[in-house]
């Protein structure tokens, strides 16, 4: 079995079989992570560059760990300044790195479309680690993995993405991936944070968080990203927390099982209360562990393709 594309640019258009294969492969690697020696020789001799044009801690560490555990050679290139300021164009940077003979590029960038652009200027396998407000496919995959791990399936499950959907790459990857896997996806948040046309993707919009909780099995709670100007779309964090924050009172009121995901880093007391973030319903740290396994699966499947 192998994937149908040699890149992972997003989950939009990725067939069900591919997602299934990645999640199943991740299960194997998840088991490896529990061993005393957490390393396999699968990608020995492969060179992977982590090209991070935007600040990232957990995604970069997660990818790097996944690469090391597969025995690949890893190089990190991180810069938060854009190529515009730096003087060298993005294309030249990539060509220079390419000239050093690399096999795979993991890329994060402020601009949507950069992974697609990379496939036109590089021969390496490209993995999108987050492009602008577009997609973050490995996050979508690890979210699906974590839901499946907790609830045993994806098909027919009701999943609501809560928060600043309009400025989240996690949201789109979740929507595309989950819908492909047969889940029923909705979003909830103030309408300033819901992008135009989302209903055309077959996604229901909730504007009341209690109603969203009532009607869903899973909540994927997004971070309110003040660094992305979220402050202009909500009056205050206090008001956001009051009307959309996930609190234990709200969960208890529902009187039912509900799984809470969060891609991190969490803003305690804003989109999620501390009690919930540390409580029995959340799978937040499982997501982090699963992230390494899922990324190992993606790297392995792409790195061993012919």
């Amino acid at each position: 079995m192998s994937l149908s594309s040699r890149h992972l640019l997003g989950l939009n258009g990725v067939p069900k079989e591919d997602i299934q294969l990645i999640l199943d492969t991740a299960t194997t690697f998840r088991e490896v992570l529990e061993r005393p020696i957490k390393k396999v020789p699968t990608l020995q001799g492969k060179t992977i560059v982590n090209l991070f044009y935007e600040d990232s801690t957990r995604t970069r560490i997660s990818f790097e760990l996944a690469q090391k555990r597969l025995s690949a050679d890893t190089i990190n290139f991180s810069t938060s300044t854009s190529s515009v300021k730096k003087g060298e164009t993005f294309k030249d940077t990539v060509r220079n790195i390419e000239a050093m003979k690399v096999d795979m590029i993991v890329v994060r960038h402020k601009s949507a479309g950069v992974p697609q652009y990379l496939t036109r200027i590089s021969k390496a396998n490209i993995i999108n680690a987050g492009d602008g407000l577009h997609e973050h496919p490995t996050q979508g995959l690890l979210d699906m993995y974590s839901i499946r791990e907790r609830l045993g399936k994806l098909e027919g499950l009701k999943v609501c993405i809560v928060g600043d959907v309009a400025h989240s790459r996690v949201a789109l990857s979740n929507i595309f991936g989950l819908k492909t896997m047969g889940a029923i996806v909705s979003v909830c948040g103030p309408l300033t944070m819901i992008p135009l046309g989302i209903e055309s993707l077959g996604v229901k919009i909730y504007t009341n968080i209690d109603e969203a909780m009532q009607n869903n099995d899973v909540l994927n709670v997004l971070r309110i990203q003040l660094e992305r100007n979220a402050g202009t779309r909500i009056p205050s964090l206090r008001e956001y927390h009051k009307y959309f924050g996930i609190t234990s009172e709200r969960i208890e009121k529902q009187n039912k099982e509900i799984v809470i995901l969060h891609p991190g880093p969490i803003n305690r007391g804003v989109e999620i209360s501390s009690e919930v973030a540390d409580g029995p319903y959340q799978v937040i740290l499982d997501q982090v562990t699963n992230g390494v396994a899922v990324r190992m699966a993606v790297l392995y499947l792409l790195g061993t393709m012919h």
Binding site: V84, S111, G113, H134
Partner: protein, 429 residues
């Protein structure tokens, strides 16, 4: 020197002229229409233009020539070469140069650069100093130096009070204010806002950013009884606003760019920066409205918004790439392929929108096809099938989304200022 255009279809809607005939031009002046004798043929260079159309020279009232300031992207000369190759004998160039065209010196500099060219260049001057939207530019002086209109193109005149003054002040000399209609507070994006921008994860520019300024400008044009020309109209509601305003007798005109009636935001799916422009490519519904507006006369003319950009600037991460595409050398092909052959416009209406109306909006005389008149002509073949090849562009820049596109219809020659451009070359006639 004498030349004969043999058996061309002479077409000028203004003169109600539509006949197939021979045209004799001597020293750049139309000498004879029909009735040519054998000695005329013997003493002239004869062009076998059988069944090609010969019309008043086309005029593009919205181009960026980049000089002064960005001569690496385009110069007055290369821009004029591109215009001639594209079928134009005249252009109006926008003031967002460096320095801006906000002083008589810059107007004169550009006129001087264009002096000996086949293509006539008419600068559009900045309406406000440095296009900042604050203090009026020296409009009278600019007008006297040769500016034919005023615009802060690139942006709308930000402040309604300033626009009012610009409209009132320029009424003295009858020039229009050309408005790039965009409310910046709503336009913080990289493409049209809608389903596609949502799926591509790009911030959107909604139609309403354009509509609001079109509405504001219509109201002010009515109040002042001034002339407003809407540049590169792209949104459905804006077309309707202009249509209603015209019915009320307000002095408002509008242009559309070929990319806006040809492409939709669907093209952005490749993240190819050659589809990044402002106004952005809109939806199918907007394209339909633009076609309807062209048909019923709401949209007066077609202009390219020719915007040359250096390769290294356009080959950039999407959100950092500049807006705009070169358009002079694909414009006529798109008008004929997309409008004429698809039955949205007759050839005659297309000629009105390419040659007559832009000049009327700018108070310039429309060339006549009459004995004794200066020959200012475009000769085109509406049925010539050709493929766009950006490497053949005369423009210094190659940022076009239409490379390799098959087109039906092309300009084959232009004549003006005692010069002719034909088969890739300029020569004196």
């Amino acid at each position: 020197m004498k030349i004969i255009l043999k058996q061309v279809i002479l077409l000028n809607p203004d003169q109600k002229l539509n006949q197939k005939n021979d045209l004799l031009i001597e020293d750049g002046v139309i000498k004879k229409i029909g009735g040519l004798k054998e000695e005329d043929f013997k003493s002239s260079k004869v062009f076998e233009f059988d069944n090609k159309y010969c019309t008043p020279g086309f005029f593009d009232m919205h181009v960026h020539l980049r000089e002064p300031g960005r001569e690496d992207e385009e110069t007055v000369e290369t821009g004029c070469n591109a215009a001639a190759a594209g079928g134009f004998t005249g252009v109006a160039c926008m003031p967002n140069t460096n320095p801006d065209i906000d002083s008589a010196e810059v107007v004169r500099f550009i006129k001087e650069k264009a002096k000996n060219h086949l293509v006539d260049v008419y600068p559009v001057a900045a309406a406000t100093l440095a296009r900042k939207g604050e203090a009026l530019s020296p409009m009278y002086e600019l007008f006297e130096a040769g500016a034919v209109a005023f615009s802060d193109d690139g942006v709308a005149i930000k402040n309604a009070g300033v626009l009012r003054n610009a409209l009132e002040y320029s009424k003295n000399f009858g020039t229009p204010i050309i408005e790039h209609c965009e409310d910046e507070t709503l336009a913080d994006g990289a493409m049209n806002e809608g389903l596609i921008s949502t799926t591509l994860g790009l911030q959107g520019i909604p139609n309403v950013a354009e509509d609001l300024i079109v509405m504001r400008d219509i109201m002010l044009a009515e109040f002042i009884d001034g002339k407003v020309h809407i540049a590169h109209i792209s949104s459905k509601n804006s077309v309707e606003l202009v249509r209603q305003a015209k019915k009320r007798g307000i002095k408002i005109t509008a242009e559309v760019a070929p990319h806006h009636f040809t492409l939709t935001d669907d093209s952005l799916k490749s993240y190819d920066t050659n589809y990044k422009m402002n106004p952005p490519l809109r939806t199918r519904a907007d394209v339909e409205a633009l076609l309807e507006g062209l048909k019923d006369g709401t949209i007066d003319c077609i202009a390219s918004d020719h915007a040359p950009h250096a390769i290294e600037e356009k080959e950039m991460e999407f959100i950092y790439a500049p807006n705009g595409i070169v358009g002079l050398e694909t414009e006529v092909g798109l008008v004929l392929s997309e409008l004429v052959h698809k039955k949205h416009l007759t050839i005659s209406l297309a000629v009105e929108k390419l040659a007559l109306n832009p000049r009327k909006i700018l108070n310039l005389p429309v060339p006549q096809i009459k004995e004794g008149e200066i020959a200012n002509l475009t000769i085109f073949d509406p049925d010539l099938i050709w493929t766009v090849d950006i490497s053949n562009f005369k423009s210094k820049s190659k940022n076009s989304p239409f490379d390799k596109r098959l087109m039906t219809g092309k300009s084959i020659a232009v004549i003006n200022n005692k010069k002719m451009f034909f088969e890739e070359k300029f020569f004196l006639i």
